[in-house]
Structures are given as structure tokens and as C-alpha cells.
């Protein structure tokens, strides 16, 4: 609940400050000044806490244990993914994802093993933000949410639903247990991204803009399930020299 409040507060804050923030030029990012500040904050928090924890996690646990943990959370997630499949009218994919849950929860021992993927039922990526996008809702301005990272107005709104529909949220009455599940999942997810972080460090002239633009492209790609309409290539009307 605290997280939801924090998220709302962040979105409101970003919205209200947006009026006076000057734009850096990207029409998708009118709140750039605020976003950069939050990004810088997240970056510090990430370097100080999440990265060391994730590195420790990766160093201490053998690969198969990490895969098991990741699979476990991924299996819980598949339930909400199936619901979003239905909401988006993808009934074939919905039945596949529901089958994944049944398969992996039983033969895969509570989701520790992802047998469904090997059996030809690949994992899908859906969330409520994508469902809203599928329904034709524009992403709105880009926002960097404290502690969470890149999002947009639409996807931030979607996150509220994702949070409420999260099985970890419902799994237990015990707040400490639930929080340790959240922490484990966050660590597991962060550990998977360690190599990607060093790639961004190497690739980007401006990490903030690079992360933003890559993230926006990825979300667009997800909403269109890998086949987004081609964007006009600004320079391509110019003949090759």
C-alpha cells in the first residue's frame, strides 16, 4: 500500500512540477528536468544498494538456484499475464499462458522449473500498461518513478493495477514475509540486469536520454507484440551519397 501511495505521490508531483519544468526537446518527455533529478536519485540508490546486493546474490547463489527463484516469481506473474491476454482479446495466448501456470505449478514444482517453455509454450510479456496501450490509450509523458524507474503516465497508472493483482501481494497476511518476497524478487530481477547496466555505461553519451529512448521503444514494441508500425526514418528521404 505504501508503494502505491508513493507511486501516486510521485506521479502527482511529476505532474504538478511539469508545469514549470522546461523541456529538453523530446516531445515524449516534457518533464525532463524533474525526471532527470529522480533518475539521478534512483541511480545513486541503485549503485549504493541494489547493485551490491544483486552482485552478492549472483556471487553467492549458484546459477540453477537463481534460475529456480526467477522461475518461481515468473510463474506467479503468468497468472496476471493470462488475465491481460484476455483483456487484450488474445485468447489463444491466454490459454497458453494459463497452461503454463498449470504445467509449471505442478510438474515444475511450484514454478521452480519452467518446463512449459521447453515444451513449446514460451513466456509472454504482458502487463496492464500494455493492455491500456492495446486499447488505444497513448502512453502520455515519460516519467521516472522513484525506486521503480522509467515509466509513462499510462504505464504508471497500469502499475497500480499490476501491484494490486500481484500474487505476492495476496500470498500472505504476514507483512515481513511479503516484504522479503518483494525484496527477493527485486534482487533476482536486478541480478539479471547486471550485464545490461554495464552495456549502457559503455554505450551511452547521456545515460538518462539513452535509457529513456530505449525504454520508450521497448514499451512501444511490447504493446504491438514485436511488430510496431514502422516509424518514418527522418533521414531516409535523403539519397545515399
Amino acid at each position: 500500500m505504501v508503494e502505491v501511495k508513493r507511486l501516486c505521490a510521485a506521479l502527482l508531483l511529476a505532474g504538478s512540477l511539469g508545469g514549470c519544468a522546461t523541456s529538453g526537446g523530446n516531445p515524449a518527455d516534457p518533464l525532463e528536468r524533474v525526471n532527470r533529478a529522480v533518475y539521478a536519485f534512483n541511480d545513486v540508490a541503485d549503485k549504493a544498494v541494489m547493485t551490491p546486493v544483486a552482485k552478492g546474490y549472483r556471487a553467492v547463489l549458484p546459477g540453477f538456484v537463481r534460475t529456480g527463484i526467477s522461475n518461481f516469481f515468473s510463474n506467479l506473474e503468468d497468472v496476471w499475464i493470462s488475465v491481460n491476454d484476455v483483456l487484450q482479446g488474445k485468447f489463444q495466448q491466454a490459454s497458453e499462458d494459463a497452461t503454463r501456470v498449470i504445467f509449471n505449478s505442478t510438474f515444475g514444482i511450484a514454478g521452480l522449473f519452467d518446463f512449459a517453455s521447453d515444451a513449446g509454450l514460451p513466456k509472454h510479456n504482458e502487463d496492464f500498461g500494455q493492455t491500456l496501450g492495446r486499447w488505444g490509450i497513448e502512453s502520455g509523458p515519460y516519467v521516472v518513478v522513484p525506486f521503480i524507474g522509467p515509466s509513462t503516465f499510462r504505464d504508471g497508472f497500469g502499475l497500480l493495477f499490476d501491484y494490486k493483482a500481484d500474487l505476492v501481494y495476496w500470498a500472505t497476511e504476514s507483512v515481513p514475509v511479503r516484504n522479503s518476497l518483494y525484496a527477493t524478487r527485486a534482487t533476482s530481477n536486478r541480478a539479471k540486469l547486471l550485464d545490461a547496466t554495464s552495456l549502457i555505461e559503455q554505450a551511452a553519451l547521456d545515460k538518462y536520454a539513452f535509457t529513456r529512448d530505449a525504454w520508450l521503444q521497448r514499451r512501444r514494441n511490447l504493446v504491438y507484440d514485436g511488430n510496431p508500425p514502422r516509424e518514418r526514418d527522418e533521414s531516409d528521404d535523403e539519397p545515399t551519397k
Binding site: 519452467d114 510479456n125 559503455q202 551511452a204 553519451l205 529513456r212 521503444q217 512501444r220 514485436g226 533521414s235
Partner: protein
């Protein structure tokens, strides 16, 4: 004889042969060659980014059109750049990409790659080769799409999209901001500065 020839082609696709290859065959050949080389090379596995860069330079770079990539990334400002500036932009952008991906190759792990059937007409001069890459130990495949154009020297790749994220257009806004604030020369300068940072220096940080 035919089998022997096929084998030769599979093992040694030189540039000359690459010129006549179909786009999907070309992409697959490059990927196979590079992964085979990576598997053999203990130095790269141990973190030798310089050697990884050499591998990219010889096996991958010849199949890319860096001028077009720079043109797409620099977008409308490309027109206001002089031919010399365009050349410098293309060369610095190339260096940046090679350096980025040579540090990534060092982290290479076994992948399973599935190529999707090519959907293109024979007369097409631009095609997309799509593939699904599944890193071992991960359940969710990553899509890698290669955009190719037909040139007099065979098919050349001008963009690679990983899960829909283009390694070219992702630079657009950064480049545009740089040009707006410091001009084309400013952009060239900051690319050059980035390229002078020691390789892999960031990886060890934090």
C-alpha cells in the same frame, strides 16, 4: 564435390561470397562464425575486450553500413554536416558501437538462436531478418531483428533491434541535443571523447 563445396562455404564465407548471399543466410553465417570463434577463444572469455574488438572488426564490421547508421542516428542534422563531418560522424559512431559490443561479447554465454522464416519478395531492396535468442538459464526469448539493405556489395546491415530497441535510433535524441547545444563538431568531439575512455573501465566500477 557439392557437399565439399557446401562445407567450404559454411566454414569460410569470405566477403566475396557474402556478396551473393541471401540476407537471412548472411545474418546466420555471421552469427555462426562469431559464436564459433567466441567459443574457441579463451582470451575473450577471460575478458580480453581488445581481442573481442578485433573479432568484431574482421567478422562483423564489413557487413554493416555505418554511414547509413550514422545518417539515421544524426537524422535531420545530417544534411547540415559537411562531407568531412559526415565521414567523421560515421567513423566515430562505428568506433562507439564496436567498443560497446566488444565489452558485451566478453560476457557472452551459450545462446540458442531461432531464425524466423524470411518474409520478403525477391525484388525487395530492404528486408528484416528476425530471430529469437534464448540465453541459457532464461525463459524469455529476446528478439533480435536485423534490418538489411541491398547494395552493390551485397546485403549490408544498417540497424539491429533488440526487443524492438534500435541500437541506432536510440541515439537520436542524444545526438540532436548535442548538435543543438554544441553543433556538429561538438557531437563529433563528444563521441571522440567517449571513444577515448579506456575499454572496460566502467565494468569494474562500483
Amino acid at each position: 564435390m557439392k557437399i565439399a563445396l557446401c562445407f567450404l562455404f559454411a566454414v569460410l564465407p569470405s566477403l566475396a561470397q557474402a556478396q551473393s548471399m541471401a540476407p537471412d543466410v548472411l545474418v546466420r553465417t555471421i552469427t555462426d562464425e562469431v559464436t564459433a570463434a567466441l567459443k574457441k577463444d579463451k582470451d575473450i572469455q577471460a575478458g580480453d575486450a581488445k581481442k573481442a574488438a578485433d573479432l568484431i572488426e574482421t567478422k562483423i564490421v564489413p557487413h554493416f553500413d555505418f554511414t547509413r547508421m550514422a545518417r539515421i542516428a544524426v537524422a535531420r542534422n545530417w544534411r547540415s554536416a559537411t562531407p568531412e563531418q559526415q565521414k567523421e560522424l560515421a567513423s566515430e559512431f562505428k568506433t562507439l558501437l564496436v567498443r560497446t559490443y566488444s565489452s558485451a561479447l566478453v560476457n557472452y554465454k551459450e545462446h540458442q538462436i531461432d531464425y524466423k522464416p524470411l518474409r520478403a519478395k525477391p525484388e525487395d531492396s530492404e528486408v528484416t531478418v528476425k530471430s529469437d535468442v534464448k540465453p541459457s538459464g532464461s525463459t524469455q526469448p529476446v528478439t533480435i531483428d536485423y534490418e538489411l539493405e541491398k547494395t552493390d556489395n551485397g546485403w549490408k546491415i544498417y540497424d539491429v533491434k533488440v526487443d524492438g530497441v534500435s541500437l541506432v535510433t536510440t541515439y537520436r535524441d542524444t545526438f540532436a541535443t548535442e548538435v543543438r547545444e554544441h553543433g556538429i563538431d561538438g557531437l563529433i568531439k563528444s563521441l571522440a571523447a567517449k571513444n577515448r575512455e579506456p575499454l572496460g573501465s566502467r565494468a569494474g566500477k562500483s
